[in-house]
Symmetry: C2
Subunit: 703 residues, 2 copies
């Protein structure tokens, strides 16, 4: 299918002028009756063609006995008939000239192998007849701008509110819950799309089309797994270019969740840590749960992105101020202190038992004098140290109008963004705020998370604007049998690709080793070379700090004879000699071909950091210098890079160069499947790869 075809089909699905409902029913309680009921209720302006041999008309509209009888090819077909009949319907719809069908029917891939076979047949039928499929096992979609509810989702039980959010979800039930939660907060969802089993059209493609709508400012997705990484990255890049945030909830963060997902949709969950880091790399805002997602929908719907990280906290409760300050610090923000001038102005306004630092505690006294609250927000946002303000309140049910007045004035007067956190607000406030366009959050830590989402998005936009769009990487390797490659070959590839590898020599016997060591200079390390050994030191195959040719000769002879005795029949290719590198900070760099994301790069701190804390950062290749710096910033134990326990700070620039070089290496040698550089010794003046292991999918002449 071409890109154009996909875009055309999705456009037909999102903006249909005519909709055929295959298997339509007059019963609004049945899933095949609900779309028609909703669209009549909401006065959808397009043409609806029910198709069902059992009726002549439904709701006074002609009902057609079959697809062939339709008066025109519909822009969109809803298929709501048993799974076994779907293929026929798709063939007929294709032949009629319908570009796309939303298939509600379940009983496909989600039920097991038989269903998967049916799914493949359905897709084949669609491709042969030039029609696209959204679903199956799908509860449909809504374009609320056009009152087009081609869905049986309970979300449409109340009329959807149009608005700036396009929300696509793999899960029908959970997606319905999230959308309903958003509506109850007054957040308008312009497009709601469930993509179900995604045998053809996927969620990313739907959002890639929806994001072009000028009325859409936020895109949001509920994911259970990523099957098409290129589509994800393309969408993320497009969102960045259009400066529209892309918010994602993805389950399967832990093994248990990933297993649960696999069992219910068959989506490939992939390695969640890789997803997490790649999302960050491309500016995708990942949230944990439905509440955070809806908070961020509200935040981005109503609030401008701040130009910097300066958060001002204005509160009427010192305790709430402290909780917000705690959360901000935990997320890595430093709360700026107001300037002397700002403090002086605040001090004039706020009672003595308040506080003028940050958090700014205006006290309950503002109820007697509204200028205290209004003025404090204005004064603090006047200070160049601050880019965004949070105002915290609770209850005040007797003062709703009074406070509404304050916030209306503020919204007019201040140009920097602010968010209101209100615990148990009066009912009227929520509606009024939605109308004025003020974001309301109802949890004290939640509001800081929301501000953080805004700030992180702003930073991602800057970061992504500063670098070229990454080239799309090649498809991941299929799972050929992969072999471990001889050190020597990998060494040559690495040095020719400009990786900073320790000086090495290879020798097949003890005399050659002694001669090679003389050339390298002393001290040297000697390591046995055999592709049949994984852990060289376990077989006595490593000797360090040898200081003379004699020592090298004796050591190598002894190593050979000992291994001959302890591991008879083992194929030994010779020894590897390396210059000794002084002990420095150990890091680990790796490259592998991810089944979802293609070649990915990994960096971690050596030793217990990787083993115990799994403290690694991933990025999708190609990795730019800026990406590489960003990787270093995201290592939890990055403090180690600045030098701890008497070690010097490492040279971060040299590490980023190594990362970029490994990224290029991965593109240059697609036949290398995995490369582990462990350890890499990093210091103030150098970065040296000391040991490595590579696997690949081709045969090499073993020397």
């Amino acid at each position: 299918m071409t890109k154009q075809n996909t875009v055309h089909a999705i456009n037909c699905m999102l903006y249909p002028k005519s909709i055929a409902i295959i298997g339509a029913s007059a019963d609004a309680n049945k899933l095949n009756g609900r779309p028609f009921y909703f669209m009549r209720r909401d006065k959808f302006g397009g043409r609806i063609y029910p198709v069902n041999p059992r009726y002549d008309e439904i709701h006074g509209v002609t009902c057609y006995p079959d697809i062939a009888a339709l008066p025109e090819p519909p822009d969109l077909a809803i298929v709501a008939i048993p799974a076994v009949h779907c293929k026929d319907a798709i063939v007929q719809l294709g032949q009629k000239g319908c570009p796309i069908a939303v298939v509600f029917s379940s009983g496909f891939g989600e039920t097991g192998e038989v269903g998967r076979v049916m799914e493949r047949e359905l897709l084949n039928a669609a491709q042969e007849n030039g029609i696209r499929i959204c679903g199956p096992n799908n509860l449909g979609l809504i374009n609320s701008f056009n009152n087009m509810s081609a869905t049986f989702s309970q979300y449409a039980d109340l009329p959807p509110i149009p608005g700036p959010v396009a929300f696509a979800t793999q899960s029908g039930a959970f997606g319905t819950g999230i959308a309903a939660l958003a509506r109850s907060r007054g957040i308008g969802i312009g497009y709601f799309v469930n993509t179900g089993n995604q045998i053809d059209i996927n969620l990313m493609e739907v959002l890639e089309t929806a994001i072009d709508d000028e009325r859409i400012n936020v895109i949001a997705a509920y994911l259970e797994g990523v099957t098409n990484a290129d589509a994800l990255i393309r969408l993320a890049n497009k969102a960045m270019n259009l400066v529209k945030p892309f918010i994602v909830v993805k389950v399967g963060r832990q093994a248990a969740g990933a297993r649960a997902t696999l069992s219910h949709t068959g989506a490939l969950a992939g390695n969640d840590a890789v997803f997490d880091d790649i999302a960050r790399q491309y500016g995708i805002i990942r949230v944990r749960n439905e509440q955070q997602m809806v908070d961020l929908m509200a935040t981005f719907s109503f609030t401008k992105v701040p130009l910097g990280k300066g958060v001002a906290i204005v509160t009427q409760s010192g305790g709430a101020g402290a909780m917000m300050a705690d959360r901000a610090e935990e997320l890595g923000y430093k709360l700026p202190v107001p300037s002397g001038q700002t403090r002086a102005r605040l001090q004039e306004l706020i009672p003595t038992y308040g506080s003028y630092g940050n958090p700014i505690d205006v006290t309950g006294q503002f109820l007697a004098d509204p200028r205290i609250l209004k003025g404090s927000v204005e004064i603090v946002l006047d200070d160049p140290a601050f880019d965004i303000a949070v105002v915290w309140l609770q209850l005040m049910h007797g003062y709703a109008d009074f406070l509404l007045d304050i916030f209306c004035t503020l919204k007019e007067r201040v140009s920097k963004p602010f968010i209101v956190c209100w615990i148990e607000p009066p009912d009227k406030i929520r509606d009024a705020f939605n109308e004025i366009g003020i974001c309301l959050i109802t949890g004290t830590e939640q509001v800081i998370d929301a501000v953080s989402g805004l700030i992180e998005f702003g930073c991602a936009c800057k970061r992504c604007a500063e670098q070229e769009s990454p080239i799309f990487s090649s498809k991941p390797l299929n799972s050929y049998e992969s072999t471990r490659l001889p050190s020597k070959i990998v060494y040559e590839m690495m040095t020719s690709a400009g990786l900073p590898v320790v000086k090495c020599a290879f020798a097949s016997n003890s005399d050659a080793a002694a001669a090679a060591a003389d050339k390298l200079g002393y001290p040297v390390a000697v390591k046995i070379e055999s592709s049949q050994i994984s852990h060289k030191s376990d077989v006595g195959g490593v000797a360090l700090d040898l200081t003379s040719a004699d020592e090298v000769r004796t050591t190598v002879s002894e190593m050979f004879s000992m291994i001959n005795v302890t591991r008879p029949g083992l194929r030994v290719d010779g020894v590897l000699l390396q210059s000794m590198v002084p002990a420095q900070t150990e890091i680990i760099v790796g490259m592998r071909r991810d089944p979802v994301f293609g070649p990915i790069l990994m960096i971690g701190l050596g030793g217990v950091f990787v083993e115990v804390f799994k403290d690694t950062v991933f990025a999708r290749i190609p990795v730019s210098s800026a990406d590489a710096y960003y990787m270093l910033e995201n290592i939890d134990g990055r403090e180690v890079l600045d030098g701890v326990r008497g070690k010097n700070a490492v040279n971060r620039e040299l590490i980023t160069k190594l990362l970029v070089a490994v990224s290029n290496f991965a593109l240059k040698y697609p036949e290398i499947e995995e490369l582990d550089l462990n350890p890499v010794l990093a210091g103030p003046d150098g970065v040296t790869v000391v040991d490595w292991l590579a696997t690949g999918t081709f045969l090499l002449d073993r020397t």
Copy 2:
């Protein structure tokens, strides 16, 4: 003040039969008018005596011109007059025989030094006249069982609901928000008490009395700092003994929040990590924010504590199931798998596209057949692998009665606890659930956090039941000038206290050192002894692995001469000789006198774990064996103790013995202020203290 006096005063405050309102007003919008208004509205059964020379009567009740004129000593007085007049009122109330006053007035310690002086004067006046004070700067309290709202909090704007929670808060505004949030969730708060500046009665004392009420099953506190650790621990112990959970929100988790708190109430925030670990040690359930607190209030109000950790997840959305499974795993729970028999029974009930593992996906089909949902919960709770179930739903506004029926039956039939997570539930469900006594949580991750609270409480009860109540520790030392103690003295104290210290000898010259080394056996380490040096290796004062008397003699001579040259005038006391201990897993054990909690014990993994990850665990001394084991379980990188990077697993029992020994050491030597054992080398067969540093507050004969 005696304990009895405190309990009597608090009883009078919580259950007054007569209340005098000093500075009463007829205006229900004024803080001095609100308590009377609330109590009339709610038909408080006790006697109310307004006191104000400006009125003859208020709301038809006689108003007294002054305190002396009152017809009886009131059980409780509310003082709502300007700060400058409070002292007089307290004197008169005391003389009248009133046992306790709640002082609303602000303008005391929270405003600065002048206010702190006034506060001390107020307290002195109270003590001289035999009256207790709750506050000042306090918005009062509510006993909702008795319709007694001695408060001006907005929380009382709607009549409070009686119920099983006693909630005390240091912050008035934030506390009001939390209480209102609880009410909106249908949670009954039996006692709501704000303790304000706490110059006399503190929050812990109030809860210690309230918890004796049989109607109270949950106690909850909002804290800004802990000033009286003994009161906290006593309350926690009492809560454990009564099997009533003690839920705490404490701000000041990070430096920023702690600063913010200090600025607004002057409470001593203390070291938050210490608080966190000590709370866990004594079974206190610490939550992050108001939403988690209210969730746990609801959970404990309505749900039995499960007998084990087996969580069953029953869902109608695979995605939501995955999110809950993720969260459970993240919190350290292993979701049990249903037995073969259970699976078979589930399989008969649930459609093929559901899932029978855990999470159990019953699919939306239960709307057609209620037995699917009802039966699944019954079947799974029949399985001994499960102790508690979570049922996840969303919307279903058209099926509220249908579902209510299912849950009513379930509540009757199953004996194990369950919680319902419902995203955007129908309005009637919340009220109905509160009536039936089913806990409703409205967030997908939140419900797992709530279950975790229940389980953790159950575990804490078991843990605390298994050990004797800890003895209360002595008061912390005041800040005397503390000196570093000579290694030798500390060595002797440690060995006599049974700590496993490496074999040592001390010598003042090179010959004595050689002789001592001969006795110790080789290899030995030599370290310079000088109380003026902090880092011995920095001055060349450490030599390792010496293997003969000659080597020791030469090394010590050279060390002395070198230090003489590089650090002339340094006082050198001699050298310390130690047997060399083979490299093993490094841990750190420490003891210090915390200004709030008195002597505390610390354990951490050595090296980067402590330096970079701050991976330490604290406990209050005395530490039992069980406490010590629990400390080890709470180290993040505890995997290291099981052996990583080729090291053997350490002997955990020996470590716990060391911890208990250090705890005893701290009690035996109150003059030792701080003890650092760093490193302690731990292996499979031994635990050895290799280096130490102690400071203390007494003078010793320097040998």
